[in-house]
């Protein structure tokens, strides 16, 4: 069975190569159906492998099985978290392909296969990264996923903003990748190994950590945190999400960014958690500090947006902060919670983007103010959008609520408040949009600052404005929300995820029981109530919660200037190093 692991990468790649080669000859419908079929086959393979992943499997590509504990080859890890992320990425790619089926903007002439082929390449990159057990190999797939994401983000080249957003995304993420490659180089120079587990063993054999280990840690994490949109590495994300086509936003926010958090967990767990890595207290300080900062900045910025895609993008930033904080506490319980939270969040966030895409294609705008009361007739979409908002808040029994409650219990204390507030504020913003756009509640919003990114007057992504919403475009968000509900509702699912994460993380030594608890349900209800209250106040008394002048400097940081973002990236790397520095001074 483990021999089939590389096929998770090979199948979508083969599909993409065939589509690109035959794309000139085949009609659009055939190319898109083939893309869906290949993506679905990969998703099915991921699920089959996932079901057989206990105990975790390892596959040496090319048959370079270690001799005397040493190998020259590349190892793939088929454990629960890795295959789970691969399955999630595949499922969302399929959703994005079906969502864009037939209606998405006309492809370049004679290249009907190029958009589905790019999505399949994206899927292959994400699957490869998820199952990589070799640090350099992880970097290679990480790069594939980046390159495809740049191209997909800038897909609507007719608009200058799309080119600008994709360029920013490309520059910032490439710098992150260079940092990561430098970190891998340092670790390789010290240990002569590239397999993550072997690097960890060699670092442990070398003795207590020194500056080189710290630099390796900081540089590798910089790459992953840029992808994971942690503050202050996050600036690319809202700019890219605002301009990327909707199916691409679903993938970026639903799973690609989360793969950054997954990478942090994987790399810390296998490389830096031993005595030769960095002390747990320092890693915890660094990750929790960045996580809290990310959650706060993301939530505040989310509240002040009127461009709906930007608003959802900042909500992703806020949730990434929550994931990082959970992973940063380095407890097995928090790992379980974050895994469930990521699964639940993926469904909800992708569904919200899908609904926003419908608004864009129907009304040519994603501006909360311009859309005021215009989408009255889209009742079905309204229901889905509100359900998405409630799911984002963590209303039981959504999977987000289960994941959040397990994480809250693990982190405890004041951090619980952070989880409740961040999810309530971001969900409150989504519900505020829903209340204004669909039934047109409250007074008509005033025209604000002229310099604001409004999101009105955008080109629809379909060939012309839709007069009626196609069934595929409404079915996809419904299925995604149902998936997010299933994460919380299906009996035993939470327990199975917890078991899989523990088997990979602690070798199954720790057994955590994952289930709904009374305090968890109450906290979920509390953040939902808070979100509804915030939305109600914002809609009925807009001035009360409007952006104060104090918030202006924070908003101005998102300047769109690539130089600013690069400067912040350098500051972030230094900050990460400073936070983890005590770990090597004490030893």
């Amino acid at each position: 069975m483990h021999h089939l692991l590389p096929l998770l990468v090979a199948v979508p790649l083969l599909g993409a190569a065939l589509l690109a080669a035959a794309g000139r000859r085949v009609p659009r419908a055939a190319a898109e159906s083939a893309g869906c079929a290949v993506s679905a086959a990969t998703a099915a393979l991921a699920v089959v492998l996932l079901l057989g992943s206990s105990p975790p499997q390892a596959e040496w590509v090319g048959g370079w099985v270690p001799v005397g504990g040493e190998s020259v080859g590349i190892v793939l890890v088929g454990d629960g978290p890795g295959l789970g992320m691969a399955a999630l990425a595949s499922a969302l790619t399929l959703a994005a392909l079906v969502y864009s089926w037939h209606y998405f903007d006309e492809p370049p002439r004679g290249h009907s296969g190029s958009f589905p082929a790019l999505l399949l390449l994206f899927q292959a990159g994400m699957c490869g990264f998820a199952i990589a057990g070799d640090l350099f190999n992880a970097f290679v797939w990480f790069e594939l996923m980046s390159v495809v994401a740049y191209a997909l983000t800038g897909h609507r080249v007719e608009e200058a903003r799309a080119v600008q957003g994709a360029l920013t995304f490309g520059v910032v993420n490439s710098l992150g990748a260079y940092a990561m490659l430098m970190g891998i180089g340092l670790l390789y120079a010290r240990t002569g190994e590239l397999g993550m587990t072997r690097i960890g063993q060699e670092l442990d054999a070398h003795g207590p950590p020194d500056a080189l280990v710290l630099a390796g840690f900081v540089l590798v994490l910089t790459g992953l945190l840029v992808k994971g949109a942690a503050v202050p590495f996050h600036f690319w994300l809202p700019d890219a999400h605002a301009v990327a086509p909707t199916p691409v936003c679903m993938l970026l926010s639903g799973v690609m960014v989360e793969l950054g958090a997954f990478g942090v967990w994987r790399v810390h767990d296998t490389v830096f958690s031993g005595p030769g890595g960095l002390p747990a207290a320092d890693v915890e300080r660094a990750l929790v500090a960045l996580g809290v900062l990310t959650a706060v900045v993301g939530a505040v910025m989310c509240w002040y947006q009127r461009h709906i895609k930007r608003l959802l993008a900042y909500s992703t930033v806020a949730h990434m902060g929550l994931f990082l904080t959970g992973i940063g506490t380095l407890t097995p319980e928090a790992d379980d919670g974050v895994a469930l939270y990521i699964l639940g969040h993926a469904g909800v966030k992708a569904a919200l983007f899908a609904c926003t895409g419908i608004l864009l294609d129907r009304y040519g705008s994603v501006d909360e103010h311009a859309l005021y009361g215009r989408a009255r007739r889209l009742r079905g979409v309204a229901v889905l959008f509100v359900a998405g908002g409630l799911g984002l808040a963590g209303l039981p029994p959504f999977g987000t609520a289960l994941g959040k409650s397990v994480t809250e219990e693990a982190v405890g204390g004041p951090l619980t408040v952070l989880y409740v507030l961040a999810s309530a504020v971001t969900a409150g913003a989504v519900l505020r949009v829903a209340a204004r756009v669909f039934p047109g509640l409250g007074p008509r919003p005033e025209e604000g600052d002229v310099y604001e990114t409004t999101g009105s007057g955008e080109e629809p992504e379909t060939r012309q404005r839709l007069s009626r919403v196609p069934d595929t475009m409404t079915a996809i968000p419904a299925v995604l929300l149902a998936g997010s509900l299933a994460v919380g509702v299906v009996p035993g699912f939470g327990g199975a995820v917890g078991h899989a994460v523990q088997e990979a993380g602690t070798g199954g030594l720790v057994h955590v029981s994952v289930h709904w608890t009374a305090p968890g349900v109450l906290l979920g209800l509390a953040s939902t109530a808070l979100a509804l209250a915030l939305a109600a106040v914002a809609v009925s008394r807009p001035r009360l919660l409007a952006a104060p002048d104090r918030a202006l400097p924070l908003r101005r940081l998102q300047s769109g200037h690539v130089g600013d973002y690069v400067a912040w990236l350098l500051v972030g790397t230094t900050l990460l190093g400073a936070l983890a520095l005590p770990g090597i001074l004490g030893s």
């Binding site: 590389p6 990468v9 090979a10 790649l13 083969l14 993409a16 190569a17 690109a20 080669a21 000139r24 040496w60 590509v61 090319g62 048959g63 020259v72 492809p107 370049p108 002439r109 190029s114 790019l118 390449l121 990159g125 490869g128 190999n137 290679v140 797939w141 790069e143 594939l144 495809v148 740049y150 191209a151 800038g154 897909h155 007719e158 430098m182 340092l186 120079a189 010290r190 240990t191 002569g192 190994e193 500056a211 080189l212 280990v213 710290l214 630099a215 540089l219 101005r556 940081l557 200037h561 600013d564 400067a567 990236l569 350098l570 972030g572 790397t573 230094t574 900050l575 190093g577 400073a578």
Partner: protein, 246 residues
């Protein structure tokens, strides 16, 4: 953000990163040491599969899965460029005017073209034996074709370079790499295992098992990719023009 603030941020962040890198470099192994755990193992593994060029063995045998990733990054970049540099609704094509080329340039280009092309193909074919291989040879071969653009003109280049065919070649080459990998899997070995062909006689063209096959696939992919990539950029520069008045 004002340029001054930005400069301060870069100074603070850059100083921190520089300090980190300097401190890390002091911990690197000394130059010229004899402890090369991976190198020793790689040479041994390369000899076991009778591949004279150890680097080719690392690229196309021991870590062939990484090369698959690198190959697809290039492939994705080309596909992305084709999508991004497409002729948009507000652009139209104009036939480029034939250009005058100085006779010495023309003579030189036409003289060097076959030599460069042959060099590229040689470097690809001998990847398993001597330095070079698919990546380097592919770039050399693709560059050779573009000497026509320098030596003759754009129309001459377009005649020897049907971009559609090269796009198909690009995809087919990636398929070839993958099919070689999957064939090993179907044969009962691991994906991309070097078990399909006999390993041959050391230091001959037919040595190294599947290394020459994968090498050739990469060479074809890189050559096609570079041709398509340059074609798209030349298109933008030479043929595609914005609609006047927009």
């Amino acid at each position: 953000m004002s340029p001054r603030t930005r400069l301060w941020l870069v100074a603070v962040g850059g100083a921190g990163v520089a300090a980190l890198l300097v401190a890390a470099c002091l911990g690197l192994p000394a130059f010229g040491g004899d402890h090369h755990p991976y190198g020793d193992r790689a040479v041994e593994a390369s000899l076991a599969h009778r591949t004279a060029n150890t680097i080719a063995s690392v690229n196309f045998d021991q870590r062939a899965f990484d090369t698959l990733g690198e190959l697809t990054i290039l492939f994705a970049a080309v596909l992305g460029c084709v999508a991004l540099l497409r002729q948009t609704r507000d652009e139209h094509r104009a036939r480029p005017e034939p250009a005058e080329v100085a006779p010495p340039v023309r003579r030189y280009a036409l003289l060097v073209l076959p030599v460069a092309l042959l060099t590229g193909l040689y470097v690809i074919a001998h990847g398993q034996l001597s330095p070079g291989g698919g990546f380097q040879g592919g770039v050399a071969a693709a560059t050779a074709l573009h000497l026509l653009y320098l030596g003759a003109d754009y129309r001459a280049l377009e005649r020897v370079r049907p971009v559609g065919l090269y796009e198909v070649g690009d995809g087919v080459a990636v398929c070839a790499y993958l099919v070689t990998g999957i064939a090993a899997l179907l044969g009962g070995a691991a994906f991309l295992a070097n078990t399909l062909l006999p390993h041959g006689t050391f230091n001959t063209l037919s040595s190294g098992g599947t290394v020459p096959l994968l090498n050739a696939a990469v060479g074809m992919e890189v050559a096609c990719a570079v041709v398509v990539l340059l074609a798209r950029f030349l298109d933008q520069a030479v043929e595609i023009e914005e609609e006047s008045g927009t």
